[in-house]
C-alpha cells in the first residue's frame, strides 16, 4: 500500500492506493500517526484508489478509528467500490466508522 496526504478545505485527506494487507502493518503505522496528528481537526481516509483489502487491513481500519477518537479528530472514510466496499460491508463497518 502507498498513501499520500493533501490538505483540502481545512481537511487532512489521506488517500491509500494499492493493496492493504497483512504486509502493510509498518506503513499503516504512518497513517495512524497522521490521524493522531490531526488533533481536534477533521480527517478523511480516502479508500477509493485502493484495489484490495484483507482481514488484516480491516483490523487496521478499526485501529485508525480508535486513534481518531483518542486524538479528538473526526474521521470520515470514503470507501470506494469493488472488493474494498464489499469487505467493509461484510465487516459491517457502517456501524463503526463514519462511511460516506
Amino acid at each position: 500500500m502507498n498513501y499520500d496526504v493533501k490538505n483540502l478545505n481545512n481537511q487532512k485527506v489521506i488517500s491509500m492506493n494499492g493493496r492493504l494487507t497483512f504486509n502493510d502493518h509498518e506503513v499503516f503505522r504512518e497513517v495512524v500517526e497522521l490521524i493522531e496528528g490531526a488533533r481536534g481537526e477533521s480527517c478523511v481516509l480516502d479508500l477509493s484508489p485502493l484495489e484490495f483489502i484483507d482481514s488484516a487491513g480491516l483490523g487496521m481500519l478499526v485501529l485508525a478509528g480508535d486513534a481518531a477518537k483518542e486524538a479528538g479528530a473526526s474521521l470520515t472514510v470514503k470507501p470506494g467500490g469493488g472488493q474494498v466496499r464489499q469487505m467493509l460491508d461484510i465487516a459491517k463497518f457502517d456501524t463503526l466508522l463514519n462511511i460516506v
Binding site: R19, T21, F22, N23, H25, E26, F28, R29, V32, E33, E36, F52, D54, S55, A56, L58, G59, M60, V62, L63, A67, G82, Q83, M87, I90, A91, K92, F93, T95, L96
Partner: protein, 257 residues
C-alpha cells in the same frame, strides 16, 4: 476432465542433474534451462514453448524466483510449480502429480516467496487461464485464498499465534515478528502448498502448511470493533464449504459453480 498420464518436468535455474535424476525416478521426461539474463518470466516462457502440445508440465524453480517467474509458472502448460532451495527432492508429492494430471493447479512455494508476492492473485489468474471464472467469482476465490494463505503462513509456518493490533505500537511489533520469522532459515523456508482441482463441477482448493497446527472455529462471528480474527470467518462466507483437517494444517475450500 482430461487425465494426462505424462508430465514434463521443467527445471529453471535449478541444478539440471537433479532434475534428470528426478525425471529418471518418476518416469516423466524433463527439460532444463539456465537462469536467463533476459527479463524475469522469459526463461520459463521458453521452456513452456518446448513442452509438447497438450502435455502438462511441472515448473521447478529456484528460491530466488521473481514475481514474473511465479506468475508464468502458474500459467499453462504448467500445472504445478515447485520451488526448491538448492537441492532437489528425490520424489515428487503424489498430490502434486495427481492434481497436475487431473487438469488442476498445484503450487509449493517457500513461505518467504509466497509472502513476498501476490500469490493468491497470481494463482487465481492461473486458474482462470484453464477454466473460465466469472469476475465476481474469481475475486471471491482470490479473497478466500489470500486469507487461507495468510493464516497458513503467519499462524502455521511462521508459528506466530496472534497478530495484535490493539495499539499503534502493535503495528510495528507485529511487522517485526513477521519479518524475523520470515528471515529464520527454518520457518521462512517452510513450504506452503496450494492444490486446486475441479471435482464434480466444483472448484476445490486446499492450502497446506507445516506449522505446529492450530484449530480455530470457522463459524465464530467476529466483533464489529475487533482488530483481528476475521480471516476464517470471511473464508466461510465466500466458500460454499470449508473443512479444516490434519490438526489445522490443511484447510480445504469448495466453491460452487
Amino acid at each position: 476432465m482430461i487425465e494426462r498420464t505424462s508430465l514434463v518436468l521443467c527445471g529453471y535455474a535449478v541444478p539440471c542433474e537433479g532434475v534428470e535424476r528426478l525425471s529418471a525416478s518418476c518416469g516423466h521426461p524433463c527439460l532444463c534451462a539456465e537462469k536467463s539474463a533476459e527479463k524475469a518470466g522469459d526463461g520459463l516462457a521458453t521452456l513452456a514453448a518446448a513442452v509438447p502440445q497438450g502435455e502438462a508440465a511441472v515448473a521447478i524453480i529456484d528460491s530466488v524466483a521473481e514475481g514474473e517467474d511465479i506468475s508464468r509458472a502458474f500459467m499453462p502448460p504448467f500445472s504445478a510449480c515447485l520451488e526448491v532451495d538448492g537441492a532437489l527432492p528425490d520424489t515428487l508429492d503424489p498430490e502434486m502429480l495427481d492434481t497436475a494430471r487431473a487438469g488442476g493447479l498445484y503450487a509449493s512455494l517457500s513461505t518467504r516467496t509466497a509472502y513476498a508476492n501476490e500469490t493468491a492473485r497470481l494463482f487465481v489468474a492461473g486458474l482462470s487461464a484453464r477454466h473460465s471464472l466469472a469476475e465476481e467469482q474469481a475475486l471471491n476465490i482470490e479473497v478466500a485464498l489470500h486469507e487461507a494463505l495468510a493464516n497458513a503462513m503467519i499462524h502455521g509456518n511462521l508459528e506466530i499465534p496472534d497478530i495484535s493490533r490493539e495499539t499503534p505500537g502493535d503495528l510495528i511489533s507485529s511487522a517485526r515478528a513477521i519479518d524475523e520469522a520470515l528471515a529464520d532459515e527454518k520457518l521462512g523456508g517452510r513450504p506452503v502448498v496450494i492444490a486446486a482441482s475441479w471435482q464434480e463441477g466444483r472448484l476445490v482448493i486446499s492450502v497446506i502448511d507445516q506449522g505446529i497446527g492450530h484449530v480455530a472455529a470457522a463459524n465464530r462471528k467476529p466483533e464489529v470493533e475487533g482488530k483481528n480474527g476475521r480471516g476464517l470467518w470471511i473464508i466461510n462466507l465466500l466458500a460454499e464449504s470449508v473443512a479444516v483437517t490434519d490438526g489445522g494444517r490443511r484447510l480445504t475450500m469448495r466453491f460452487g459453480p
